[in-house]
Amino acid sequence: MAQEDKQQIGLTPDANEAITKIATDYFGGSQQDAYRFAISYAIGANLDIADAPQSGYVTKYNALGTLEIGSSLRDLLELLEVGDPSRPFAAAEKLAELGVRDIARRLDGNETMADILSSTAEIM
């Protein structure tokens, strides 16, 4: 029997610390906005979902109703065929973890958010 998708998703404590700073500096304090952005960034930056930690996530959001209003997030994953199609939120959690860590690393390296955004337009 196929495993059910995650209903509550989050980040590891390290990534949680990083997203707090990213959200404060670039998202007016909204960690949800930063979280969604990190998922999209992880896809755009070709980060490999297999590199994400398999466990250690601390719940932050209800996937449906809080993080996903409508279906954009699931559409994104489905249309780009990212992760297990039957468990889109489980994939989204891992992508968010990878995205947050990479964005934090690049910001620490004195890149701007504009640099980070632009780099995804160059990656194919």
Binding site: Y26, F27, G28, D33, F37, L80, L117, T120, A121, M124
Partner: protein
């Protein structure tokens, strides 16, 4: 032969970290050196470096010892931060056919006043430390330097100074130094000493003891009065010099109060700009936040675009396949109808009876239709294509980049404003109203004291006339006494005559040179001023009070620019009458003149100054292009001052072509 600058080298002076041998060499055909530099770049620093090297004091009217404590302000701060502790200026110049190489160095240790040393070589011969100032003074005396090394501010004040009682005495002495009158006065003093001596010998040689003693007593009294007068005069002159120097200090600080007021205004403006900048920063940051929040799909959009291209291509192919199926199906329908008979579904005409081959064609058409249908699969997935398109965001990244550029610009402007504000606050923090009021009181007190000292000195002149007259009477009395020796009497008479002659000569020379300076200054002024027919000339009184004479008589009013032209005319005339020639160095001399008057000064005044003129100018008074248009080939050397890294504490000088 007059003094000519050859080159200037600077190390760690003002904004100049290292300038090696800036050539100032000129010749008769091209006697002008022009150094262009916008305000605050370092023209005045260059000018002050020259003055410091020559006299040990960067600013006019100050002695080397008075300037020592302020030298720290001239040490290049980036060099200091790099651990360097020496500041050095070197000038090479020629005078009287000899090569001079003067180097002045200041060494800074901790917070104490720097140790300053000078090195002068004349044709490679080292001049003793103690003789350097005398040797430089012989070539270009500091007292006359303000007529040849002068800045625009001094020029602006020059006319007012000439017409104020307090300053006139000082300027008069400076002017008379230029004209060589003190040398004649020293000669007169020597002759007076010789006269004293012969009168003393005369009394000693007298036979009548009583008369001799009376005459000796009288002469001793006169000598004592003379000595006492000389001593008092020297003391008063010393305290007046000190008061003058203190006053200049106070004036400078008062001037800086004006600067402080300007600083306060700028501070308010900066604070308001910083506030506005902060609001702008917040607004742009908010716009950027909204962009990231609403455009969160933008980072994945390139990937989505790739998938879209693939899906769209697949859909195009599927649609093409559908069209082929449609065509195949139509063919099958037609063939079936032909076999069944009836009318053509298209043209509605009676179909011909079926041939044997038609059945075979139908079989083939059905097979082809089946093959196409098998290949087509599910057909195009247009909803999927639409869903992908709905997620693609092509605007956010570009818009965000624009906003980031705008944001960076705001941050940079805010940084500059805050840095400037911090500098101003540092300047303002040690000044309060009480201190500023005290400065005003000090200024009044010193001005009164200087007037008092000047009056006292004038009183000594009257006393000197009395002593001279009594000495003359004593000499006459001596001659008439019996027993006086004829040879000594003749000698005494001779010296007295020479003394009177010298005094008259000084008076006549002073008057002649004054008339000459007045005539030359008038000629120069007429060349400089626009509409010269409206003026009769410049009148210089015996006390060097300067008056502009118009068609309706003296005391004609004139503008600030006009007063500057008068000052330039007087300086030019003094330069021509001076006993020793030398270069003229002018820092921003044209700032208050309009273009016509600037042209007049450059074309008619500068060429009459002699063999070398160094002009430090900013583009507001003379652009590089205007310099070429106006002075052309008369420019011997031309440079511009630049700030290479946008750092006010760093400047370089480059040749313009």
């Amino acid at each position: 032969m007059s003094l000519q600058f050859e080159s200037l080298s600077l190390k760690n002076f003002g904004p100049y970290r290292k300038i090696d041998e800036l050539s100032l060499r000129t010749d008769l055909e091209a006697p002008i050196v022009v150094i262009h530099g916008e305000n605050t770049l370092g023209k005045t620093s260059l000018f002050r470096a020259l003055r410091w090297c020559l006299y040990g004091a960067p600013e006019a009217g100050k002695t080397a010892s008075e300037s020592a404590r302020g030298l720290t302000n001239y040490m290049n701060r980036p060099a200091q931060a790099d651990g360097e502790s020496d500041m050095q200026v070197a000038i090479k110049f020629t005078a009287d056919g000899h090569q001079f190489h003067l180097t002045r160095t200041a060494l800074f240790r901790n917070d104490a006043a720097p140790s300053v040393s000078a090195d002068l070589r004349v044709d490679s011969q080292v001049i003793q430390q103690a003789s350097i100032d005398v040797e430089i003074g012989r070539q270009l005396h500091p007292q006359i330097s303000e007529f040849f090394l002068f800045d625009g501010e001094l020029l602006r004040d020059f006319y007012d100074r000439l017409n104020s009682d307090r300053e006139r005495d000082l300027l008069k002495r400076s002017i008379e130094s230029v004209l060589g009158i003190p040398a004649l006065q020293l000669a007169a003093r020597d002759i007076r000493t010789m006269t004293d001596d012969v009168l003393e010998r005369q009394t000693k040689a007298m036979k009548n003891q009583e008369n001799a003693e009376a005459a000796q007593k009288r002469l001793r009294e006169l000598k004592s009065r003379q000595e006492s007068l000389d001593k008092d005069r020297a003391e008063i002159e010393a305290v007046r010099r000190k008061a003058q120097s203190d006053l200049e200090d106070v004036n400078e600080r008062i001037a800086s109060v004006e600067e402080l007021k300007a600083d306060a205004r700028e501070m308010e403006m900066l604070e308001s700009q910083i506030k506005g900048g902060e609001a702008e920063r917040q607004q742009v940051a908010e716009e950027m936040r909204k962009l990231l929040a609403s455009g969160w799909l933008a980072p994945a959009s390139t990937k989505l675009s790739v998938v879209l291209t693939r899906v769209a291509a697949k859909n195009d192919a599927a649609q093409e396949k559908q069209r082929e199926i449609q065509a195949a199906r139509g063919r099958v329908d037609l063939l079936q109808k032909q076999l069944q008979g009836g009318t053509c579904p298209t043209c509605h005409q009676e179909l011909p009876p079926p041939e044997t081959a038609t059945q075979q064609e139908l079989t083939d058409a059905k097979a082809k239709l089946q093959q196409l249908t098998d290949e087509a699969g599910n057909g195009p997935d247009l909803p999927r294509e639409r869903r992908i398109r709905a997620l693609i965001d092509t605007d956010t990244i570009r818009t965000y980049q624009d906003k980031q550029a705008q944001f960076n610009k705001i941050i940079a402007a805010q940084y500059d404003r805050k840095r400037r504000l911090s500098t101003i606050k540092d300047r303002l923090k040690d000044n309060d109203a009480a201190k500023i009021r005290q400065l005003g009181r000090d200024q009044e007190r010193l001005e009164r004291a200087i007037v008092g000292y000047s009056n006292a000195l004038r009183g000594y002149d009257e006393e000197q006339v009395k002593i001279d007259s009594e000495q003359k009477r004593a000499a006459n009395a001596l001659r008439k006494l019996s027993g006086s020796q004829p040879t000594l009497a003749a000698e005494a008479y001779f010296f007295q005559y020479v003394q009177e002659l010298t005094n008259r000569t000084i008076g006549r020379y002073r008057e002649r040179t004054r008339t000459e300076v007045e005539r030359t200054a008038t000629e120069m002024f007429m060349k400089l001023i626009r509409d010269s027919e409206g003026y009769d000339g410049i009148q210089i009184g015996s006390d060097y009070r300067v008056d502009l004479v118009g068609k309706r008589g003296p005391a004609m009013k004139t503008s600030e620019g006009g007063r500057q032209l008068i000052a330039l005319s007087l300086i030019g005339a003094l330069k021509q009458a001076a006993v020793r020639g030398g270069p003229v160095v002018l820092d921003s001399p044209l700032a208050r003149l309009d273009r016509k008057h600037r042209e007049n000064v450059l074309l008619r005044w500068v060429p009459e100054l002699g063999t070398q003129a160094i002009l430090l100018v900013q583009s507001g008074e003379l652009t590089e292009q205007q310099a070429h248009e106006i002075m052309g080939s008369r420019i011997g050397q031309e440079y511009r001052i630049l700030r290479p890294n946008n750092d006010p504490e760093e400047a370089i000088i480059e040749r313009t072509q």
